[in-house]
């Protein structure tokens, strides 16, 4: 296993940055090599562009954002965004599994498929297939990969993230999983810088917000002219509010939070209680 390697799986180019960008930046600062697997081609998230132009623009933005965050490589699987439910989940899982076996990460960041009321179902389908890679990375799966020299790889730690909102009470942290807050205050500006590189998506978001405010008879002067400053200002405000809301829950300024499942390197591994209750000293 590459001990200092992490992989983030994301539906679109910005989801992992919103949900886990600060934490990934922290690990990069600690010496981790970070790789991103993007499930969708981002062909629909724009204003005034056709699907091909949208895809091209968003993909270029995502590459830049990943670089700014410190990601070594972003690999786009190029499935059609907004239509992942039509894709065989076995196929999506196999795509992800192949790359995880290639990168051999110690840590895996995935969208949480079990958070409720997420209207963008690409999050769900991406998260579901990503979660299954934990199961399907054993050597008995996809033996054709092993034949090609790509052996199975178990990931020690999985971080489930909610891309666009804080975890709600009752979500995450059950059983042997831990609900894990991360203080990202020190790297927050790097997260913002990366997110602001997603100009095409941010402009679309700002346009939609402006339209909704106007429809509600509550137009904002800050969005009257959607120039770069207005778009960036809204994108930053979105990230700040999300990080502060999570931070307040955990007593830090800017936070991210995860449903964490796994065993951290160096963690003490105790024997199961059904063994320890029987062991005796000689």
């Amino acid at each position: 296993m590459a001990e200092k390697t992490l992989v983030a799986i994301t539906a679109g180019g910005g989801d992992y940055i919103m949900g886990a960008g600060g934490t990934i930046a922290k690990f990069v600062a600690e010496g981790y090599r970070a790789f991103v697997i993007q499930a969708g081609n981002d062909e629909k998230n724009s204003i005034g562009l056709g699907p091909a132009e949208t895809r091209l623009a968003n993909n270029a933005d995502a590459e830049k954002a990943a670089r700014l965050l410190g990601v070594a490589e972003l690999f786009n699987l190029n499935n059609k965004s907004g239509e992942l439910s039509q894709l065989s989940s076995n196929e999506l899982r196999a795509q992800m599994t192949t790359l995880i076996r290639h990168y051999k990460p110690a840590k895996l960041f995935i969208p949480d498929p079990f958070i409720h009321y997420e209207p963008e179902w690409d999050q769900f389908w991406t998260g579901r297939a990503a979660e299954e890679t934990n199961y399907s990375n054993a050597g008995y799966f996809l033996p054709e990969l092993a034949k090609a020299g790509v052996a199975g790889h178990g990931v020690a730690e999985t971080y489930y993230y909610a891309a666009r909102r804080p975890y709600r009470p009752g979500e995450g942290g059950h059983g042997s999983a831990k609900f894990m807050p991360v203080d990202v205050s020190a790297v927050f500006e790097r997260k913002v810088e990366a997110f602001l590189a997603l100009r095409t998506a941010s402009r679309a978001y700002a346009t939609h917000v402006k339209q909704r405010l106007e429809a509600a008879d509550r137009p904002s002067g800050r969005l009257r002219h959607l120039d770069d400053a207005a778009v960036d200002g809204l994108a930053r405000a979105r990230l700040v509010e999300l990080a502060e809301t999570i931070g307040r829950k955990h007593g830090v300024r800017f936070g991210e939070e995860f449903n964490y499942h796994g065993t951290a390197p160096g963690a003490k591994q105790s024997r199961p209680p059904w063994i320890s209750e029987r062991e005796r000293r000689r």
């Binding site: 299954e132 008995y140 799966f141 059950h174 059983g175 999983a177 591994q269 063994i275 029987r278």
Partner: protein, 308 residues
């Protein structure tokens, strides 16, 4: 799950609830257990003890294996399939069940299969055997990484409901079958990956039922029998100047491995039993009876009469 993994688990997930009410066996005579894999009826968060209890109280038990189990084991797909099927029979005989019905869907690749087809198979089986109680996975469990568990559970709860409709798959009736809806469902959820399920009852097990549960899971030696794991554990303990007395009486490493599996089951049953104030129990998410949802409780209390 392989035993080597069990030995290095840092934390063992126990049911989250502090206490659980004890449930009673429903009336009836037929039990159907439908799970995707050869060992799902017997695992720690499973229901081997409850199956034994049903059978000891006179139920006929039938086991539906949804997948072909080709990936569980180290013998290659074809051999894994046949070995795991054989061991499924071994396990259900220990539990006192009558038959294994294997649907043979491809193991761990059940996400994109047509659920209506799987559901139809289960409706057919339900109409044929007419179970009073069905045991299966909880389709609402969270952080379930295995697609087979989710999909068989979802198809199963739909089948339990739709098998009672005379408008659903009427072609079955030409074969002499009749509609049959299932009144009692006991769900299970894997607890060591996260939330799993929230159990709402504990079912007490006696010594005999607990022992059958332990023996039934150990019958799946293709995946749970690991002499190497027992040997590694002994070596690890020896470095600390420790040993396990029972191992010294074991006939071999495989028997020692079986012991570990038995202890794992026994510990789990004791933990759940403690929450219910009994020695041994299993925990389940139960739905069923006449009024598990509001709307019928008052009517039944006022209007229903026992059969004389």
């Amino acid at each position: 799950m392989h035993i080597a993994i069990l030995l290095i688990l840092a934390a063992v997930a126990a049911p989250a609830q502090d206490s659980l009410p004890l449930g009673k066996l429903p009336p009836g005579r037929v039990l159907l257990v439908a799970q995707p894999h050869h060992d799902d009826h017997t695992t720690d968060y499973g229901m081997g003890g409850l199956i034994a209890r049903f059978v000891e109280h006179g139920f006929e038990g039938y086991y539906v294996r949804g997948s072909n189990d080709e990936k569980d084991g180290a013998h290659g797909y074809g051999r894994n399939d046949i070995i795991n099927l054989k061991e499924t029979w071994d396990a259900i005989r220990i539990l006192g069940m009558k038959k294994v019905i294997s649907l043979n869907w491809r193991n761990d690749f059940m996400n994109p299969i047509p659920l209506d087809e799987l559901r139809e198979q289960l409706i057919f089986v339900i109409r044929k055997y007419r179970p009073d109680a069905v045991l299966g996975h909880n389709p609402w469990e969270h952080y379930q990484k295995n697609p087979d568990h989710r999909n068989v559970a979802r198809a199963l709860v739909e089948a339990c409901w739709l098998a009672g409709y005379e408008t659903v798959h009427p072609e079955h009736f030409d074969l002499g079958l009749k509609p049959h809806s299932v009144p009692h469902y006991y769900g299970k959820g894997r607890l060591d990956w996260g939330l799993g399920q929230i159990s709402n009852i504990a079912m007490e097990l006696n010594e005999s039922q607990e022992r059958k549960k332990e023996l039934a899971i150990a019958a799946h030696r293709n995946v749970y029998g690991s002499g190497g794991a027992a040997r590694a554990l002994s070596a690890e303990l020896a470095k600390e100047g420790k040993y396990i007395p029972e191992f010294e009486r074991a006939a071999g490493e495989l028997e020692a491995s079986d012991m570990i599996t038995h202890w794992w089951m026994n510990w789990t049953s004791r933990q759940i039993g403690r929450k219910a104030g009994v020695k041994y129990a299993g925990s389940h998410n139960y739905t069923g009876g006449l009024y598990h949802l509001p709307g019928l409780r008052e009517f039944v209390a006022q209007n229903a009469e026992p059969v004389r």
